[in-house]
Amino acid sequence: MDFSVIVDNITYFMIGRYPNGPLGGLGLTLYLAVVSCILSFFGGLILGLLSLSRFAVIRYPVNLVINTVRGLPLLMVIFWMYFLLPALMGKTVPESQTVIMGLTIFTSAYMSQIVRAGIEGIPKGQVEAAISTGLKGWQAMLYIVLPQGMRNMIPSFVNQFVSLIKDTSLAFIVGVSELTHVATQVNNRTMSYPTEIFIFIAAVYFVLCFSFTSFSRWLEKRLAWRKSI
C-alpha cells in the first residue's frame, strides 16, 4: 500500500482545480449535496402540502408525480435531466446543474413523504383547536401544525441529506467532476494505485455520512417530543 498518491493529489481530491479552474472533488460533492438539499427541502415541503390538499384535482396529479419519481432509479432521473433539460430549455445546461435538478426532483419526492408523515403525525385536535379560535386552515397549518411537525421531521431530513451526499456520486456518470469522478481521473492517470485511491474515497464518504448520522441521532434525542396530556 502506498498512500503517497493520495498525499500528492490531496488538493485535487478536495477541491479539484479550484481556484484556477472549476470546483471539483469533495468540494463539488458538498456543493451538489447542499444545493440539492436546500432546493429539495422546499420542493418536498410544497409537494408534501399539495399531496395533502383538500382538492382532489391537486392531490391526485401531485401524488402521481411523487409515486412515479419514487418508482424510478435515481440514475434514470439524472439521465433524463441530462438529456431532456437542454432539449427543453433550448440551450446547453452545465452538467452540474442537470445533476442538481435530477437530485432535487428525486429527493423532493422522498422529502414530500417525510413532510406528509410529519403533518399527519400531529393530532387532529391541534387543528380543531386552532380553527375553533377562528384561525383559517392555512394559519393553523403555518402556526400550529408545521412548527410541531418540523421538529418531528428533522431527523428524517438529516437521513435524507446523508443519502443525498452518497447519491451525488452518480453525477460521475454525466462527467461532473465530483469526488468519485475525480478519483477515477487520478486512478486513470496513475494507473497503479486503485486500491489506495478507492479506500481513501470510501473513507471520505464514510466519515462525512457517519458524522451526519451521528448528528441526526443526537438531534433525535434532544428533540424527542414530550407528549402533552
Binding site: 391541534q126 383547536a129 375553533s132 379560535t133 377562528g134 384561525l135 402533552s228 396530556i229
Partner: protein, 244 residues
C-alpha cells in the same frame, strides 16, 4: 342565540343526530348529558361546524350555518370551544397559546393582547404560569389555560365538550369553578358533561340525549328529581351509583 331545527347528521350509515330541535337563549347555560354514543359531542361540535350538519337548519348568533355566504371562520371566532383533551399548543408558552388567535385574527397589537391574556390568566388563577409550556402543567391547569385561550377571542358563546372527563378527580373542581364564574358573567354556554353537581347548580336547563334524539329537556331540579323518560331514569341511576 343557537337555534337547531330538524337537524340530522350521519357518519356514513350511522345516524348520529336524528331530528334535533333546540333553542339556546342568550345568557343561558345548557347542560347536555346522555350515555356515550348518544350524539352529545357531535351535537356540540356542529355549533361551530367542526362537524357540518347534513339536514335541517342551524343558526348561531344570527349566522345561518347552512348558508354558503356565512364566513365560517368569523363564526368560529365568536364561539369559544373547550375540548376534553385540552388541545393546547405544546410548542407555545401559555401566554402565546392565548395571544395567538387575537393577534392573528383580531389584529390586536401584541402588547395589548398580552395584557388581555394576563387578565384572563389572573381570572383562571394561573398568572404565574405565563411562561410555562403546556407539558409542564397539570391537567386541570391545562384546561384552565384552554378556557382562557377560548375567552381571549371575546366569544359570545362558549362550548364545552366534556371539559373535565380527562381530569383526575381532584382537579375537576378547579375547572368547574372557572366555568361557574363564567356562567355568572352572563355568558351563553353549552356544556356536555357528566358532572351532575355542576348541572344542578349552574345550568338553566338540562338536555338529555340518547341515540341522536333529545329525549328530555327540563330545569335541572325537575330533571334530577323527576326524570320523565325511562332511559333518563336509568342513566341517572347509573351515574349516581355506578356499582349497581
Amino acid at each position: 342565540m343557537i337555534q337547531f331545527q330538524g337537524v340530522h347528521k350521519w357518519f356514513k350509515k350511522l345516524h348520529v343526530l336524528n331530528g334535533i330541535d333546540l333553542h339556546v337563549k342568550p345568557g343561558e347555560v345548557v347542560v347536555v348529558c346522555g350515555p356515550s354514543g348518544s350524539g352529545k359531542s357531535t351535537l356540540i361540535r356542529t355549533i361551530n361546524q367542526l362537524e357540518p350538519i347534513n339536514e335541517g337548519s342551524l343558526v348561531v348568533d344570527g349566522m345561518d350555518l347552512c348558508s354558503k355566504k356565512t364566513d365560517i371562520n368569523r363564526l368560529r371566532a365568536e364561539v369559544g370551544f373547550v375540548f376534553q383533551q385540552f388541545n393546547l399548543y405544546p410548542h407555545l408558552s401559555v401566554l402565546n397559546n392565548i395571544t395567538l388567535a387575537p393577534t392573528k385574527i383580531r389584529k390586536t397589537p401584541k402588547k395589548e393582547a398580552e395584557e388581555q391574556a394576563m387578565a384572563l390568566l389572573e381570572r383562571v388563577g394561573l398568572a404565574v404560569k405565563r411562561d410555562a409550556y403546556p407539558t409542564q402543567l397539570s391537567g386541570g391547569q391545562q384546561q384552565r389555560v384552554a378556557i382562557a385561550r377560548a375567552l381571549a377571542m371575546k366569544p359570545r358563546i362558549m362550548l364545552f365538550d366534556e371539559p373535565t372527563s380527562a381530569l383526575d378527580p381532584e382537579m375537576i373542581g378547579e375547572v368547574l369553578a372557572v366555568m361557574q364564574d363564567l356562567a355568572k358573567t352572563g355568558m351563553t354556554m353549552v356544556v356536555v358533561t357528566h358532572e351532575m353537581g355542576f348541572a344542578r347548580e349552574v345550568a338553566d336547563r338540562v338536555v338529555f340525549m340518547d341515540h341522536g334524539v333529545i329525549l328530555e329537556e327540563a330545569k335541572p331540579l325537575e330533571f334530577f328529581k323527576n326524570p320523565q323518560h325511562d332511559r333518563a331514569k336509568q342513566f341517572l341511576k347509573q351515574l349516581l351509583s355506578p356499582m349497581h
